[in-house]
């Protein structure tokens, strides 16, 4: 089975983000980058499928700057067989990213293309769906179980208060959610072996942007707390404020 895992390099979720000078992007200085956490579920699932089948090839593909080789190498250290970096030094919109991916994916003949359900930075959850549309492949997002059954795949997803099981033919595109599996750490041997695994760098096909980020801003600072008084005497005032000002009771 041939599996492609599309992953995104994103700022570490613990990073304190600062807005860059242009007011439209984050300041990259001192930002630590990681593989977007949902994409780790996708990679782990690909490795599990390969291990269970006893054969197969897992390729990680990313659209990003040259520095994204760190995330690709990490994925190879975790166990992927090969990597592709589609170079883009500037921020792309979801359609541009999808087109860049399709440029590589269309000739690969993968049986399965896995994504994280969404990236943790832009949180658009658009790219996988756009790729699926562009390639005319079935797409299910937010999957929490996956079972290969011959030429079909059966996936489960949580719905409001229940569970949905969906089956579709391969090849298919799936967006992986938390709960699907428990991603492994890279091992030292894996990290050392990653050095010898192939990483291909290709140029993104130029596609006109359809979206433009106008402005980025940080959430407003939390207002200071208010002490309304002390002891039982303050209770009626507290209740009044909760009801009339905060409107929470």
């Amino acid at each position: 089975m041939k599996i492609a895992v599309c992953l995104k390099r994103v700022p570490d979720t613990a990073t304190r983000v600062r807005i860059g000078g242009d007011g439209k992007s984050i300041d990259p200085a001192d930002v630590q980058y990681i593989i977007s956490p949902y994409d780790e579920f996708a990679l782990e699932e690909a490795l599990l499928i390969r291990e269970k089948a006893g054969e197969g090839e897992v390729t990680v593909i990313t659209v990003g700057p040259e520095a994204a080789s760190k995330e690709v190498r990490t994925a190879l250290g975790i166990g992927a067989d090969a990597g592709v970096i589609i170079q883009a030094e500037v921020a792309l919109d979801p359609r541009q990213i999808a087109c860049a991916l399709v440029g590589v994916l269309k000739d690969r003949g993968d049986d399965l293309i896995l994504f994280g359900r969404q990236s943790v930075d832009s949180q658009g959850a658009q790219v996988a769906a756009l790729v699926a549309r562009e390639m005319s492949l079935p797409f299910v997002n937010d999957i929490i179980s996956l079972e290969i059954d011959g030429a079909k795949v059966r996936v489960g997803r949580d719905t409001d208060g229940g569970r949905e099981v969906i089956e579709c033919p391969l090849p298919a595109i799936l967006g992986c959610d938390k709960g699907l599996n428990d991603p492994r750490y890279p091992s030292l041997k894996g990290i050392m072996a990653a050095r010898k695994k192939p990483v291909e760098t290709v140029e993104a096909q130029p596609v006109e942007a359809s979206l433009e980020t106008i402005e980025l801003s940080l959430p407003p600072a939390r207002p200071e707390g208010k002490i309304v008084g002390e002891g039982p005497d303050a209770v009626s005032e507290l209740v009044r404020l909760l009801r009339e000002e905060a409107k929470v009771i």
């Binding site: 190498r73 250290g77 050392m192």
Partner: protein, 388 residues
């Protein structure tokens, strides 16, 4: 608890390879997710988190700098970063890995027969067996050459008699690297668990390294096959070369403890309000943080340079002494200062600084006490050995 932020004031990260950073990141995540949630409880209970040993093996953290035999063959800097991250978790955890890697696998790898290497190293690397290192005796600590434990040849066997003390992993070890005198020369022997005449006792009542097993080893007419001698180690140089490996790891590990304390102290200083403002606004608190950051940065530079010397094959034992002595001394000072900065909270298990502070008292003492390293440096500088 908030995520750990490492200190890199001098941009030492710029000098690391992608691979070295990846190794550090892997260990950092492992410690955050699998060690820190339970470590305070283990420390309180006086138990070693043995459930993580198979993972240590799976990740390749045991004997990571050795070549072959299922070992990763890492460079010294990456190995040091592993030690740093493990000790950021707990000195007891780093001690476990140091002993297994530097004091058990290293001597078998360097001094052992092909048969011993094939038999023990892959299992030690996987963590499916555990090792310990028996050098120190009840009456011979800083002066190991006076050891009483002895071996006598008898037919196809050696018969060991004597006692070892303060042995990390002793009670849980499947194989002990034991140093004993054979015809007046210090030699190394592999003693396996269950050998008649070999027993261990748990040393209890420690207020330090509580998440690590410390034991006495007893040998009473303990008969081992002649094949179990480490043939290529002859004299005190054998065990001392192992200690050099372990001390190298400690020089890095201490930085991990110090960074954990600094990170905790800094966050506390910025969030704890007294007199209407964060205590980090006060000059006395800032002075403490500045001192911590300075000494951590110096320690990082020492360890970094030491790793280069080690890989170049020119590192001397005296250079290791300087780094071990300095970095552990300052880690302990930083832990004490952080404990002080946290006020009453500093003496609780809600924060890691008290645990690190207590652990570091042992780290300062084991693998050559602070004072012995002072004398090693004094010897190196003057040419006059003060300990003879």
């Amino acid at each position: 608890m908030e995520r750990f932020e490492s200190l890199d004031f001098y941009r030492i990260d710029d000098l690391l390879t992608e691979e070295q950073k990846m190794v550090r990141q892997m260990v950092r995540e492992f410690v955050d997710e699998q060690v820190l949630p339970d470590i305070e409880q283990h420390f309180m209970d006086g138990t070693f988190p043995s459930e993580i040993v198979p993972t240590l093996g799976d990740l390749g953290l045991l004997g990571a700098n050795l070549e072959g035999y299922e070992c990763a063959g890492l460079d010294s800097l990456a190995y040091g970063l592993i030690m740093q991250e493990l000790e950021r978790g707990d000195s007891g955890l780093r001690s476990f890995v140091s002993v297994q890697s530097g004091l058990v696998m290293y001597p078998i790898h360097r001094f052992g027969s092909q048969d011993q290497k094939n038999r023990f190293l892959p299992q030690l690397a996987k963590g499916s067996i555990i090792g310990c290192f028996g050098l120190t005796e009840p009456d011979y600590g800083s002066d190991p050459s006076g050891m009483i434990t002895n071996a006598v040849a008898d037919g196809d066997s050696y018969i060991l008699n004597g006692n070892k003390m303060w042995i990390t992993n002793g009670c849980v070890a499947d194989v002990a690297v034991v140093w004993a005198k054979l015809d007046g020369r210090i030699r190394g022997f592999l003693v396996e668990k269950g050998t008649p005449g070999y027993s261990t006792t748990l040393q209890e009542g420690k207020f330090s390294l509580r998440a690590s097993v410390t034991s006495e080893l007893h040998f009473q007419d303990c008969r081992i096959p002649k094949a179990n001698i480490l043939a290529d180690a002859d004299g005190l140089g054998g065990p001392l070369s192992c200690l050099t490996q372990a001390r190298y790891g400690i020089a890095w590990g201490a930085i991990g403890s110090a960074m954990a304390c600094f990170d905790c102290a800094k966050k506390y200083a910025l969030s704890r309000i007294q007199f209407g403002k964060p205590i980090g606004s006060f000059q006395l608190v800032q002075a403490k943080l500045a001192e911590m950051a300075s000494e951590i940065t110096k320690g990082q530079l020492l360890a970094l340079r030491l790793s280069q010397l080690k890989d170049a094959g020119t590192m001397t034992a005296q250079q290791v002494s300087l780094s071990k002595r300095n970095n552990v001394y300052w880690a302990l000072e930083i832990a004490r200062s952080a404990r002080d900065l946290l006020g009453a909270s500093g003496v609780t298990h809600e924060y890691p600084v008290g645990r690190h502070m207590l652990n570091l008292e042992s780290v300062k003492t084991y693998e050559g006490t602070h004072d012995i390293h002072t004398l090693i440096l004094g010897h190196e500088i003057t040419g006059i050995p003060a300990y003879k």
